[in-house]
Amino acid sequence: MAQVLSGGLRRVIGDGEGVPDGRVDGLDDADLLDLYRSLVLLRTYDERSVVYHRQGRIGTYAIFWNHEAMQVGSAHALADEDWIFPSYRESAIGLLRGIPASTLLSWWRGHPAGWWNPADYNVASICVPIATHVPHAAGLAWGKRLRGESAVAITYFGDGATSEGAFHEGANFAAVMRAPLILFCNNNGWAISTPLAAQTRAETLADKAVGYGMPGVRVDGGDVLAVFEATREAVERARAGEGPTFVEAVSYRAAPHATADDPRAYIDLARVEEEKRRECVGRYEGYLRRLGLLSDEEREEIRSGAAALMREGIARAEAEPAPDPSILFEHALASPPPSFAQDLAELRRILGRTEAGGAASPRPSGPEGAGPEGSV
C-alpha cells in the first residue's frame, strides 16, 4: 500500500535512504518488469522524437519527458476494453496498446499513415484543444453504462485544463450520470509559461473533486507504482458502478512544453535540475535494483529493444509515399456531396498545369512535415 505524504500525496517508491520502499498488492515480479519496459519505451520514444524534430523529420512536438510514470502507471491499471482519451501530452500512450511507433511518428509528420481507428485500440484521437475531450470521455463512459458494458474510460489533461469550461462540464456530467470515468490530471505545475498559482486559488486540484461529488486523490506523479495503485482503485470504483474519480498526479515539468518553447524565460531552472536528478524512470530503476529485479543485462536489453523499435518506426514512417490530394476531400464526410468531387477536379486541373509548366511544385520543398518553430 502507498504511504500518504504531506499534502495527501501517495507514494510507494522509497528514496533508497530514509524513506522505505513499499509494495503494491497484486503485482508480481513480471508485472514490475513490464512497467519498466513501458517506461523505457515511452522515454525512448520521447527522447528520439525531440531528436527527429531537430533533424527536421517530424513537426513541432509536445515533449513528455518525466511524465512517463503518470502515463504508464495509469494505463497499466486499465483493461484492454477500457478507452483512453489522450491530450497531446499523451500522444504516444497508444504504444502501450500496440499502436506502431511508425503510426505515431507519421502523425507528427502530418502524414495520413498517422491515422488510426480509435476502435481498434480503444485509444481516441489526440485532442489538442485543451480539455475539449473531457466531455467526450464522459459521454463514452456513460454510453458504456447505458449499453450494460463493463468498460470504463480514462481522460488525461494537464493542470491548466482545469480552468477550462469543458473540464467542468465533462466532470460534472460524469458525476451526475455516474459515468465510469477516471479524470486523470497530470499536474506538472505549468501551462506553457503560466504557473499553477496563476491558474487557480484552490489549495490542490484534487479539492475540485469535492465540488462534483466525486473522490479526489493526490499521488506522486513521479512514482509509477503509486500512480498505478491509485488508478486501479479508481477503475475498480468505476467498474462497480460508483462513478468517476479525479486523480491528481503531481510532478514538475522538467522539459520544455514543446519543441517550440524555450522555458528559460519563465521557469525555475534550479528546480528543473533537481527534478531531472529524481526523474521518474531512474527512480523506478532504483526501486527494481534494490529489489534485485533488474540486472545490467536486462536493462541494456530493454533499452536497446526500445531504440531499435524507434529506428524501425522512423524508417517506416519516412518510407510512406506522398499522399494523393484526393484524401483532402475523401474523409470530411461519409458519402461526400458532389461539391467535393468538383473541388478535387479543380485542384487536379491546377496541379496538372503547374507540373506541366514546371512553375511550381504541389509539394513544399524541404523536410516533409517540418513546421517552423513557434507554429504550435
Binding site: 481507428n117 484543444p129 466531455p135 464522459a138 459521454g139 463514452l140 456530467f173
Partner: protein, 330 residues
C-alpha cells in the same frame, strides 16, 4: 393518413428511431418530465425511461461533447440544444470536434450525432433567443445542416439525420411546431441533400427555408393576382445543398428570389445567389433578390420585431422587383 403537427412529427421520428434501435437515445435540458421547452419530447420518458430520455445539467458544451463520446462507439445520440442561440456555448464541440473527427482519423472514426435545436422570431423572445444561426454552421466542412419546414419533412429528415453517419445539425423553427398536415402511416425517410419543389411556376423561382417557405407560398399565391406564376423550392438540407434542383428551377423561370429569416447580409442567401449566377448566368433576366432580416439584433418589443424579420409581403415585393414592378417605390 394521420394528421400530425410539426412538433408531433419530430416526436414521432424520435420515438420510431428509439424503438427500432437501442443505440438511439435523446439527451438535453428539461426534456424528460417536462418534455422539453417546446414540448417536443412530451410522453417519451414514460415509454423509454430516464436513461434513454435523459435530462442533463445546464451544460451545452457537456451535452454535445458527451454526445460525441457516445457516438464515437457507434451509438446514435440525438441531443437537444434548447435554443439555437445556445449553440454558441457548444461551438467548440461542434466545429472543432464533431466536424473534424472523421477527417482527422482518415475516415476511420464516425460521429453519428444529431444535434436538434430550434429558434427564430415570431413571439418576441428577444435578441438572445430569436436568432437564426444556420449560416454559421453551413460554413463548416464535416457537418450536415438540415432545416425542415413541414411536418412530413421534419419527420422524414430527422429519421435520415439520425441514421446518417455524419454529425447533423437539425434546425427546427419555433413558429412551425403547431403546423399540422396529413402524413403517411409509415415514416418515409427523406434523403439529405434533396430539395423539395412546393409549388411549380414558370416566371420566378423563390428559394426559401424554414418559416419563409410558408411566407413564400403565401406570396406566390398573392403574385397570381399580378399575373405571375411563382415556383417555391425548399432546399431542406442546407449542407450539402441540392444545387442542381435550384439551378434547374431558375433555368426554367429565369428569375430568382432567396428568402430566409436569418439576416440577409453575409447570409445563406448569398451562397444560393452565387451558385445560381455561376451556373445559370445566361438564363437570368434580372438580378437575384435576397429577402431576410435586417442586419441588427432581433428586438424584444413585439412591434419592433415585426420591423426586422421578413414576411410574405417582403417576399412579394422581391418577386415583383424581378419583373420590374417596384411596389415599394411606386
Amino acid at each position: 393518413m394521420p394528421e400530425l403537427s410539426y412538433r408531433e412529427a419530430v416526436r414521432d421520428a424520435l420515438s420510431r428511431a428509439m424503438r427500432a434501435d437501442e443505440d438511439v437515445f435523446v439527451m438535453g435540458e428539461d426534456i424528460a418530465e417536462m418534455g422539453g421547452s417546446m414540448g417536443v419530447t412530451q410522453g417519451m420518458l414514460a415509454e423509454f425511461g430516464a436513461d434513454r430520455v435523459r435530462n442533463t445539467p445546464i451544460s451545452e458544451m457537456g451535452i454535445v461533447g458527451a454526445g460525441i463520446g457516445a457516438a464515437m462507439q457507434g451509438m446514435r445520440p440525438v441531443v437537444e440544444i434548447m435554443y439555437e442561440d445556445f449553440l454558441t456555448l457548444s461551438l467548440e464541440q461542434i466545429v472543432n470536434q464533431a466536424a473534424k473527427h472523421r477527417y482527422m482519423s482518415g475516415g476511420q472514426l464516425k460521429v453519428p450525432i444529431t444535434i436538434r435545436t430550434q429558434g427564430g422570431a415570431g413571439w418576441s423572445p428577444g435578441a438572445q433567443h430569436a436568432q437564426q444561426l444556420e449560416a454559421w454552421l453551413v460554413h463548416v466542412p464535416g457537418l450536415k445542416v438540415v432545416f425542415a419546414s413541414t411536418p412530413a419533412d421534419v419527420r422524414g429528415l430527422l429519421w435520415s439525420s439520425i441514421y446518417d453517419d455524419n454529425p447533423v445539425i437539425f434546425f427546427e423553427h419555433r413558429t412551425l411546431y403547431g403546423l399540422k398536415e396529413e402524413v403517411p402511416d409509415e415514416l418515409e425517410p427523406i434523403p439529405l441533400g434533396q430539395a423539395r419543389v412546393h409549388r411549380e411556376g414558370t416566371d420566378v423561382t423563390v428559394v426559401a427555408t424554414g418559416r419563409l417557405v410558408h411566407e413564400s407560398l403565401a406570396a406566390a399565391q398573392e403574385a397570381e393576382t399580378h399575373g405571375l406564376s411563382v415556383e417555391v423550392v425548399d432546399p431542406r438540407t442546407l449542407q450539402p445543398l441540392d444545387e442542381r434542383a435550384l439551378v434547374e428551377s431558375v433555368q426554367k423561370t429565369n428569375r430568382c428570389v432567396v428568402a430566409h429569416e436569418a439576416v440577409t447580409r453575409m447570409g445563406f442567401g448569398a451562397e444560393v445567389a452565387a451558385v445560381v449566377q455561376y451556373a445559370a448566368f445566361d438564363w437570368l433576366d434580372a438580378p437575384i433578390e435576397r429577402v431576410g432580416a435586417r442586419f441588427t439584433p432581433i428586438p424584444f418589443a413585439p412591434v419592433m420585431e415585426e420591423f426586422v424579420v421578413p414576411h410574405a409581403n417582403d417576399v412579394l415585393a422581391a418577386i415583383l422587383r424581378t419583373v420590374g414592378k417596384d411596389v415599394d417605390g411606386g
